[in-house]
Amino acid sequence: MSTTTGTPPAAGDTTAATLTSDEHGNIELGKLTLAAEVIGQGTVAPPAVAEYALWLGDDALVLAQNLGWWISRAPELEEDIAIGNIALDLIGHARSFLSYAGSASGRTEDEMAYFRGEEEYRSAQLFEQANGDFAHTIARNFIAGCFQHALYERLQGSHDETLAAIAAKSIKEVDYHVDHATQWVLRLAGGTAKSRRRLIVGFADVWPYVDELFRDEPLNDELAGVAVRQSTLRPAFDTRVAAVFAEAELEVPVGFTATGGGRVGKHHETLGPLLAEMQVLARQFPGAAW
């Protein structure tokens, strides 16, 4: 991601000049140096913030990798393209979060993605759930999207400028992801008896992993005002799910609740093989570019 070389002009340097583009594409000349609007590179995350960025980056990366398996296998060409684009957006979010997380320890986004072991990952287990059939994928994506949407909506107001910027950027794309999953939930639920049955099974299978998403961790106490307390996102999530389920005439599944533990490195059995496939090339040929 980084293409930076050298250093930006120092603030207050009298020989510096700037040209910016305003919101309507007009051009404005001014003697400014780097303004607060320029966020993205060169900011070092405090350790606790880096840990939190890891949670969100790993959620996005793991889901993107899962979705990649649908490429060329989706039920129709348009879906192949839609899922590929959603995965690409998620990789973008992961790159931002992982670059920021890595800044605390001097590691690059690639080092974060390819050279951490399973127990160093911090994804929640919902994101690790296997694709299953298309209905399972839609059920998982719907839950993931509703959670990320509720989260980013609030994270835009974080006191940490970088987290707020990533959230504000990402939520615009997650809007489309939630819409995609919602349209398919309605279509599968209202389709044939078979599509409806498969969707219900899909939701039943992934629902045990919902609670983990909304569990507070000790890190939340350290990051008041910076991170969003997961438990406070549940009402927004429940409201959105209830509205879609009502329209689809679905019921919220009842059953067991998984123990979770993704935020402390305890993962679902699917994560190991997923990482092995994702990381093998980078590990076998360190420094390879493609």
Partner: protein, 168 residues
């Protein structure tokens, strides 16, 4: 240097950077797209700030390299290209000229404005005009198209499919 000279120096860099085009939509420059956000000149050091369209847009790396190459060709050797995430890019930043070029290229430009924070993108869909025959009798085939920024539509008059640059 005098202020006026600095302004000229900055303008010169901006104009060179502004010639770089989107590798996937070559009729649009990064200025048309609103991706070129800022130019800073400090002595011989130049910093160009771009903002990504979509988070995962693979064209960003190419655009960064192309900006650097264009400036190197013009004799600027100390060039930094930075990516700024905030404020987040929106299709509202595509210039009027850019929208005309998009349409001529066969991609329907975004209709309406980004409305994050109110209703989301979905409830705001206006009629999309076919870039070939200008009919408004079109329909969406898929909200996700050949690249992140596009949706796939079809015209019910001339029966041709076309790309639509969706509102973000």
């Amino acid at each position: 240097m005098l202020d006026a000279e600095m302004e000229v120096a900055v303008r010169r860099v901006w104009d060179i950077a502004a010639t770089v085009t989107d590798p996937e939509i070559p009729v649009l420059t990064i200025e048309d797209l609103g991706v070129l956000r800022r130019v800073d000149v400090c002595g011989t050091a130049v910093t160009v700030t771009l903002t990504p369209t979509y988070s995962g847009c693979p064209a960003m790396d190419t655009m960064s390299v192309d900006v650097r190459r264009a400036l190197a060709t013009a004799g600027y050797n100390d060039v930094t290209v930075t990516l700024a995430l905030a404020p987040a890019w929106t299709t509202d930043w595509i210039s009027e000229q850019g929208k005309i070029k998009l349409n001529e290229y066969g991609i329907a430009p975004p209709t309406g404005h980004s409305a994050r924070g109110t209703a989301g993108p979905v409830s705001l869909l206006l009629s999309v005009k076919c870039p070939r025959c200008s009919s408004l009798n079109t329909r969406e085939l898929s909200r996700f198209g050949s690249t992140s920024c596009k949706a796939l539509h079809e015209c019910r008059e001339c029966l041709e499919p076309f790309d639509y640059f969706k509102v973000l």
